[in-house]
């Protein structure tokens, strides 16, 4: 009973560490995965200059004094090492077809977008290549939009009304494309010039640049910044970020999060440790007669101390192992319920949890063990 409670406390402590770190680490992996799904070897140009280097959430909303234009994007193609360029302009609009009206996100871009973002087509083709400049009346639909508007009907070649334009459906994206927390299932993809005309703007939201290889990313970053600065009359008014930088930042943030969560879990372990101490103290009191007997039988103080220490350590270790098993089980259940969330407990957390359990068992076992060893054998024996 006593030992059972003790092991329960210890195992809950360790399980808390394992589960919480699994959650934290899972969140980190999830975000990293999301970013990787944007595409590989990406360099992103966004308008506006942030004060500090690196990624900053404020970059997403700052406005720019000078527009980032399609011409800038085209010029970037001349930078060595650049494989593809995809300008992006984003806006909300309405799509109207077959008597159905739906609000939707519209992305204006070029034919490279499909490759840069690593999307796949379910039907038809993507935007045609020679659209930069004049903007053909084409649209590629996200899977969900297609289903909601056309149902099972083949949408290819049909005309839809997007905003104030009539556009021809040329392709449909596969389902489940994701990136930056946004699903492509609800996107309309139109040529960048068409989008600019519809939204009546010149400014690009982003320019995505795909590098030929990972090693060239750093070079490309400086060259792109130089070229745009040159084109913008010497003013450095854009921010160039690499996917690595974004990832790193998020990685850092989420690592801190995981550590914080692990800290909370460590507190629960410490509480479990104090519980171990109390239970051991009670056990010393309960077993006073036994300790007295052991002394009468010739046990040295050291032997009795050792006995209690070993018991404390064994209890915490068993509890710790049980907790680890429990933690893994919970993480597995979590993964089963949310398959997209990779809640795997990191190995360091498991070791740290077990280690803390052992150490707290040791530390909090010392006091009761000392008390047991110092008991006066006569009084211990007379108590019964």
């Amino acid at each position: 009973m006593r030992t059972g409670l003790l092991m329960l406390a210890m195992s809950i402590g360790v399980a808390a560490v394992v589960i919480l770190t699994a959650l934290g680490d899972g969140a980190r992996r999830y975000v990293v995965g999301e970013f990787s799904s944007i595409g590989s070897n990406l360099v992103i140009v966004l308008p506006g200059r942030s004060e500090t280097r690196g990624f900053n959430p404020a970059n997403l909303v700052t406005s720019t004094p000078r527009d980032l234009t399609v011409d800038d994007a085209t010029a970037l193609l001349r930078v060595p090492g650049v494989e593809r360029i995809s300008p992006i302009i984003v806006g909300t609009t309405e799509i109207n077809a077959a008597g159905k009206l739906r609000e939707s996100m519209m992305v204006g871009t070029n034919h490279e977008f499909l490759r840069v973002r690593q999307l796949k087509l379910a039907l038809g083709r993507f935007l045609s290549q020679d659209d930069v400049g004049h903007g053909s009346a084409e649209v590629v639909l996200g899977a969900l939009i297609r289903r909601e508007i056309f149902g099972t009907e083949n949408p290819l070649g049909k005309t839809v009304r997007v905003g104030d334009r009539r556009l021809r459906v040329v392709g449909v994206l596969t389902e489940g494309g994701r990136g930056m927390g946004m699903t492509t299932d609800e996107l309309l993809i139109v040529p960048v010039a068409t989008a600019q005309a519809m939204l009546n703007t010149n400014t690009l939201f982003r320019i995505l640049i795909e590098a030929r290889s990972r090693e060239q990313i750093a070079d490309i970053k400086t060259r792109v910044l130089k070229l745009i600065t040159q084109r913008h009359e010497g003013e450095e008014d854009v921010t160039v970020i690499t996917q690595d930088a974004v990832l790193e930042t998020f990685d850092k943030i989420l690592n801190v999060l995981t550590l914080g969560v692990a800290g909370i879990a460590a507190i629960s372990l410490a509480v479990a440790g104090i519980l171990v101490m109390n239970v051991m103290l009670v056990s010393v009191t309960q077993r006073t007669a036994e300790i007295g007997l052991l002394k009468a039988l010739g046990a040295t103080s050291a032997a009795i101390r050792q006995l209690f220490m070993v018991e404390a350590v064994l209890l915490s270790l068993t509890g710790g192992l049980l907790g680890t098993a429990l933690g893994y089980l919970c993480a597995a259940i979590l993964r089963h319920i949310y398959p997209t969330f990779p809640a795997y407990p990191p190995l360091w957390a498991v070791w740290a949890g077990l280690g803390t359990a052992l150490v707290s068992g040791l530390i909090f076992g010392v006091m009761p063990a000392r008390r047991a060893a110092q008991l006066d054998p006569i009084q211990a024996l007379s108590k019964r």
């Binding site: 039988l297 006569i378 024996l381």
Partner: protein, 239 residues
């Protein structure tokens, strides 16, 4: 008698403090015990007989006086050295047996050997032998609560003697037993005494006390009478 005394107590004083009051448990006790003696310590409650027994068993220290065990002054030994002496030279038997309830009879007997750091192989041999000697072989794997009172005390005696101590200290060994099993236990202790083990029994029971060859009567912390039966083979102060 003066040659090679097993136990030599000289001028032992022991005082307890209970709150403000002082309790003089032992006053100026002098006692010499030769090897192989059979001694009963009797007296009313609070006469100091238990204190004397604890002192002889090195569980307690005197305030004044010296205690020599086998010619060696043990009063000044460090606690761990005293533990070693207890482990090797002294066996305890208690009124309420003091068996460890979680352990089997065999494991209880094994305890002192384990505490003495004996290797497992030899331990098993010694335990098996002790079980056989005390007729407990078929009870070896039983826990104390599955044993009768007499069996429990036999286990306790086996545990006390498995290290072959020089002195066996028994505190009311028959106090918790009925007369028949008590008789059986006393005979067992006397048989051990016959093999040369010094036996010191603290008891209230005059019948049990009368069986000893030497009777000490205590009152208020002093030995008031020390009678050795004429039949005693060890000491003969009357001649």
């Amino acid at each position: 008698m003066a040659d090679a005394a097993l136990i030599q107590l000289t001028g032992i004083d022991r005082t307890f403090y209970l709150g403000d009051s002082q309790v003089h448990a032992l006053r100026k006790v002098d006692l010499t015990i030769a090897p192989g003696e059979y001694i009963a310590v009797m007296g009313p409650s609070g006469s100091g007989k238990s204190t004397l027994l604890n002192l002889l068993g090195l569980l307690d220290r005197p305030d004044i006086g010296t205690y020599q065990l086998e010619g060696r002054d043990v009063t000044t030994l460090a606690p761990d050295e005293q533990a070693k002496v207890r482990s090797e030279r002294i066996g305890f038997i208690f009124q309420s047996f003091h068996l460890v309830p979680r352990l089997t009879a065999a494991a209880n007997i094994e305890l002192p050997l384990m505490l003495a750091g004996m290797p497992a192989g030899e331990r098993a041999k010694r335990v098996a032998q002790a079980l056989k000697e005390y007729g407990l072989t078929d009870r070896a794997q039983h826990r104390p609560n599955e044993l009768s009172g007499g069996q429990r005390q036999r286990v306790a005696i086996a545990r006390a003697t498995v290290q072959r101590p020089a002195v066996l200290l028994a505190d009311e060994p028959t106090g918790n037993l009925d007369r028949a099993t008590g008789e059986e236990v006393v005979r067992l202790l006397e048989a051990l005494n016959a093999t040369g083990m010094t036996l010191i029994v603290v008891t209230h029971d005059p019948v049990l006390g009368a069986r000893a060859k030497r009777q000490l009567r205590m009152e208020d912390g002093s030995i008031v009478s020390d009678v050795t039966s004429a039949a005693s083979p060890h000491t003969s102060p009357l001649t």
